[in-house]
């Protein structure tokens, strides 16, 4: 590792193009320096206790640098059909092809969905203000890498007082090498939007580093669905953080099904009085899949509310490690924070870990957390079998029931397909 670090330090960090804006080059260069300075994450720290960080080091940083960062003239647009029932779609592949389509409705309302490179030129006021403001280069080594060397990436901006009734689907597909992508999500005051943030497809045993920065202004209503559907040869390291303002309602869902190693660090800062955040996740692992989820609700303002429910089922030799943190600051009064994690072990060789972490420096709070770990109950299986249902079918029915409440939190357009994906995975 030391050898590699020296090597990457030796690489000269040049502007991406001759006309790269000064502010952007400076921001990226500083991040690059931070990446090189910082050691790999300490495994004693909870965040990396269950997952070796080495496997997220890009094998050839030179290669990554060559490909990165692509300016607008370096990537191409492909034709993209807008699927029915959507107000927008943004598809990004590892070879820097973007397929983006917005509904007329979204375009008329001034919604922006463009590549981050285009955005740096066309919307510098937004990008300069927000890029790296929630997840900066001090956040961690890989976050610094991301800020320095993002290749693709998207900006989604929903202006104030804009309501979109149908979801905007963003899909990132990795290749066989290292892909570094970033989503900057800016939602204006009193706007309403539903976003599907999907990581799927691709072949080869690639590595994807992704960052999602969400800045949500006062009184906005945002539904954010994260879908992890990568093939079982791909590794994903995602850091997703939202900062939400006064009276915002953020409803997040996560569906973790694919990937070989999936490391997700999700957090939300409830920064404005009266902000609400609900998170509902489901995870189904099998084979040798490895999942490591961290969630954090950080209450920095008074009268904020968070609620989190995570359902995990692990079969085969799958591993799921989950750390759920709640922080309530000293001057954040009358907050409520709830967290529940239920785990089902579907085989003797599957493993789950669940670690609640509560840091509450205020007495005026309502807070609870709960963890359960268990196998499917024989009694329950017997009940279904006594009605003529085979053992396998009984287990499938009980498991889909286990996930049902989480499925119901998904946008309508995803519910049936996700239910079918679950069922297909349970067939294995």
């Amino acid at each position: 590792m030391i050898e590699q670090d020296t090597k990457s330090q030796a690489l000269e960090f040049r502007p991406a193009t001759e006309d790269e804006p000064e502010w952007l080059y400076t921001l990226r260069k500083q991040a690059w320096e931070r990446y090189n300075e910082m050691p790999l994450p300490d495994r004693v720290q909870h965040l990396w206790k269950y997952t070796a960080p080495e496997q997220f080091e890009p094998e050839l940083v030179e290669e990554v640098m060559k490909a990165v960062p692509v300016r607008p003239n370096g990537h191409s647009r492909t034709e993209q059909m807008l699927p029915e029932g959507h107000d927008g779609i943004g598809v990004e592949t590892s070879d820097n092809k973007f397929g983006i389509a917005l509904s007329d409705n979204a375009t008329e309302k001034g919604v922006t969905l463009i590549s981050l490179a285009e955005a740096a030129e066309q919307k510098p006021e937004l990008v300069e203000k927000h890029l790296g403001s929630v997840i900066g280069s001090d956040y961690g080594k890989f976050e610094a890498l991301n800020l320095a060397l993002w290749q693709g990436g998207l900006l989604l901006h929903v202006p104030a007082h804009t309501t979109l009734e149908q979801p905007i689907h963003l899909k990132r597909t990795p290749g066989s090498g290292t892909t570094i992508t970033r989503l900057l999500l800016v939602v204006g005051e009193n706007a309403e939007v539903s976003i599907i943030d999907e990581y799927a497809g691709g072949d080869g045993d690639g590595l994807m580093h992704a960052v999602v920065e969400g800045i949500v202004d006062n009184s906005a209503r945002v539904a954010l669905t994260s879908m992890f559907n990568l093939p079982e040869s791909q590794r994903l390291n995602l850091t997703h953080r939202n900062r939400i303002g006064e009276n915002v309602t953020l409803t997040s869902s996560a569906v973790a099904l694919g990937g070989s190693v999936t490391k997700v660090n999700w957090s939300t800062q409830l920064a404005g009085r009266g902000a609400n955040s609900h998170w509902n996740g489901l995870l189904l692992g099998n084979g040798k899949q490895h999942f490591d989820h961290f969630t954090g609700h950080h209450h920095s303002a008074s009268e904020t509310y968070s609620n989190l429910e995570f359902k995990v089922a692990a079969g085969g030799k799958a591993v799921s490690a989950y750390t759920g943190r709640i922080n309530i600051d000293k001057d954040a009064f009358f907050c409520e924070a709830y967290q529940e994690n239920r785990n089902l072990l579907l085989s003797d060789k599957a493993k789950v870990e669940s670690i609640p972490e509560l840091e509450i420096i205020n007495d005026e709070v309502k807070c609870s957390h709960g963890v359960t770990v268990g196998a499917l109950e024989d009694e329950q299986i017997f009940y279904l079998m006594a009605r003529g249902i085979t053992r396998d079918e009984a287990m499938r029915i009980i498991l889909t029931g286990f996930f049902e409440k989480s499925l119901e939190t998904l946008p309508q357009v995803l519910r049936e397909t996700t239910r079918n994906q679950l069922l297909a995975k349970l067939e294995v």
């Binding site: 024989d378 006594a386 003529g388 029931g401």
Partner: protein, 253 residues
């Protein structure tokens, strides 16, 4: 009666649970159209027998023979026993959160009759009728199975399943326990409606109360893992009057 009228034939049944023998050589025969009651004090082994017959994994049948309409029941797992025509109304029905009553019933019906479109077409209608029979509100169709049901609602739902699945032999494991008189009447009405000349019902109960509404042809008394006395309906009344101690005393003497 001819031999082929025998629906359930149990010979010298022995059952252990966690290594302890709880059923110690029960023999019983039920014919088409019959209603039998097995009565006994707590811990006599009657519920263990019901569970073992249905294929509960915690109850091991160590010896004996059980034929259901001529088929060897002991070679089948619980789901195969159900398909073969055995039904157990559970003493403690289990909740299946996230699974609606409709989906649960549809899966059971599909398992029994296949998924031919005609089966699924008649399913809704049959379910509606079953709800009416058990005097259950149709909102239950979209509720999760036994999740948050009251004791009485759970028992009604058991009998609703009995009515829909139309088994050859239904075993009712203390279906009457915990029911108020109105619920008991509704449940009994359901059992009587499901009972025909071609099937048989085995009531397992501690009390004589349900026998006022579902009148059995044969009453057996179970104690300490065995049937110690068999008779007609009058035996149930004697038990109601004198309690189980009376038989215990006779057995000792």
């Amino acid at each position: 009666m001819a031999g082929n009228d025998v629906l359930l034939s149990i010979k010298d049944l022995h059952v252990t649970v966690e290594g302890i023998e709880v059923v110690k050589g029960v023999s019983l025969e039920m014919k088409k159209g019959e209603k039998h009651a097995i009565m006994g004090p707590n811990g006599s082994g009657k519920s263990s027998m019901a569970n073992a017959l249905s294929g509960h994994p915690a109850y091991e049948i160590t010896s004996g023979e059980v034929l259901l309409d001529g088929e060897n029941l002991l070679e089948m797992d619980a789901s195969e026993r159900s398909i073969a025509g055995l039904f157990l109304a559970f003493q403690y029905p289990l909740a299946v959160p996230g699974v609606t009553v409709t989906n649960f019933l549809r899966s059971a019906i599909k398992a029994h009759r296949g998924d031919d479109p005609s089966v699924l077409r008649s399913f809704r209608k049959e379910m509606k009728e079953a709800f009416k029979l058990l005097e259950m509100d149709e909102v239950f169709a979209s509720r999760y199975v036994n999740d948050g049901f009251s004791g009485g609602e759970k028992k009604r739902f058991e009998i609703l399943q009995l009515a829909m699945l139309q088994p050859k032999v239904a075993i009712l494991d203390e279906t009457d326990s915990g029911l108020d008189i109105d619920a008991l009447k509704v449940v009994s009405k359901g059992v009587n409606a499901a009972h025909t000349d071609d099937n048989a019902v085995l009531l397992v109960t501690h009390y004589q109360r349900i026998l006022n509404y579902v009148s059995p042809d044969h009453v057996h008394v179970m104690m300490n893992g065995n049937l110690v006395r068999s008779g007609g309906p009058e035996l149930a009344h004697q038990l109601e009057e004198k309690g189980y101690d009376w038989i215990k005393a006779e057995l000792v003497a």
